[in-house]
Amino acid sequence: MQVPLRPETDTGSGVTSAHHRARAMIEIDRVSKRFETSGRKSHLALSDIALTIDDGAFVSILGPSGCGKSTLLYIVGGFVAPSEGIARMKGAAITGPGPDRGPVFQEFALFPWKTVLGNVMYGLRQQGVKRGEAETQSLRLIEMVGLKGFEHFYPKELSGGMKQRVAIARTLAYRPSVLLMDEPFGALDAHTRTRLQNDLLNIWERDRKTVLFVTHSVEEAVFLSDKVVVMTRAPGRIKEIVSIDLPRPRVRAELLLDSRYQKYVVDIERMIDDGRDDAEHS
């Protein structure tokens, strides 16, 4: 069998290419997304995005609102099809949603007719796990996200932060290889947000799942990520990819005083400001 010289452009056989890209979990290969709007006009949301996300990496996509960062996440999730290009998961083209990629949305999107336990169990039951076993695993997860004692509450009875904890547990339950987080803490107050960021990092440290995390908060992106993908506004392009070289496990109080952290935040904020100037002048 001939080994392809440039495996990154090989769209075919998943086996050989997967072998060559053992560490690549997700590849976004020259993806564009155009939305048809009223009449003959159309809106280019994403333009020519190329990005590789390594297995076990925590990658944030950062950009102003309307830069298509959520759209990019939805394409990886298989919820939205790209207009051009292709996204791959472990070498295989993404054609639709699947339990290997678990989404967590800003809107929580819990099932309101199910209790906390019912929500967390849902994915496991769908995959044929027996009730007793699904319940045991779910109770463990509910405890891990700090909601022990709330198993039989309905989403309506929970605060925003608690709902998002349930949503995270519900997604972790069916063990996706990749977590797709769409501004998950965007609807929460500052205090809750900080606590959930800390808890998310603690959970992530345990099994180091691949995480793709969309946010418009520079601090959040730098605090959490191995890599920050900075995007520009309409059409969404990648402006720069910044590797965050800060030690883990990260402690918020220490990082805030760390000059390297501060420099990352300031540098990235400048990049975003530049982007906005470009858009305004053109």
Binding site: G78, P97, P99, A109, K156, E157
Partner: protein
């Protein structure tokens, strides 16, 4: 304090009924005409009507038709409404049809239906079916349309296919809205039941009512109004209890806590 308040809130419907009967009684005594019997007279006639096996069978016939018409309507309208709510194509196909049927009083169709299906059970059940269908379709449609896209995506990521998402996400998410439609449908079923029987006089509660009217048996007329009214109140209350059990997750949370305690 709260105990007393709870007793008052439980008793208030009965107090309202008693008040209404008292006003009726006084008005009838004051007017003193033959066509307006007193509440006491009318109430005393209720056991007579229900005690007559023929009348009772008539009333049970009505209830049977209503149950069949209502059940068929719900069984067909819920899937149709949900499909319309989730698919623009299905909605575009059925909407003009429903828009045409919607403003027509269903009892006005009764003559044509009688022409086709006769004066028996089939026509009356069909009219009830039509009366119930529209509100249920409408509310199922609205409920399905309001289902959060992200909720469906979450289900899709767990591996639910299109049909499973419809049955296991759209249906429960739209259930509060659907049950609101069913409750309206239930009252409409009672109304169309009586009107259909007064047009096609052959059997049923409406038939007894209007025969009594023709024969100037005003006690029976008012007794039937009480019976039909009571049937409506009982059905509505029973349905609301069922609705509460099914969708308590959608109600404000202090009520859930109350229910659990």
């Amino acid at each position: 304090m709260t105990f007393a308040r709870r007793i008052i809130s439980k008793l208030s419907p009965f107090l309202a009924c008693l008040g209404l009967l008292a006003v009726w009684q006084l008005a009838a005594l004051w007017l003193d005409t033959e066509s307006f019997p007193t509440a006491w007279h009318a109430l005393r006639t209720v056991p007579q009507v229900l005690g007559d096996p023929e009348q009772l069978l008539n009333i049970l016939d009505s209830i049977r038709r209503m149950a069949i018409g209502f059940s068929l309507a719900v069984a067909i309208s819920i899937p149709l409404g949900l499909a319309m709510g989730r698919s623009a194509r299905v909605a575009a196909f059925f909407n003009p049809l429903l828009m045409m049927i919607y403003p027509v009083p269903k009892a006005a169709l009764m003559p044509i239906i009688m022409l086709w299906l006769g004066v028996g059970d089939a026509s009356k059940t069909l009219v009830i079916f039509l009366g119930v269908s529209l509100p249920v379709i409408y509310h199922a449609f609205q409920g399905a349309r309001a289902v959060e896209e992200k909720m469906l995506w979450s289900g899709a990521a767990m591996g639910l296919n299109g049909l499973q998402r419809m049955v296991r996400i759209v249906l429960p998410a739209a259930l509060p809205e659907i049950l609101t439609g069913c409750r309206t449908g239930l009252v409409l079923a009672l109304i169309t039941m009586v009107t259909s029987e007064m047009i096609a006089r052959q059997s049923g509660a409406g038939n007894i009512l209007f025969n009594a009217m023709d024969m100037a048996q005003y006690d029976t007329v008012f007794a039937m109004i009480i019976i039909i009214g009571a049937l409506g109140i009982v059905l509505d209350a029973a349905f609301d209890k069922l609705r509460w059990r099914l969708v308590k997750w959608a109600e404000p949370h202090q009520e859930i806590l109350l229910g659990a305690s």
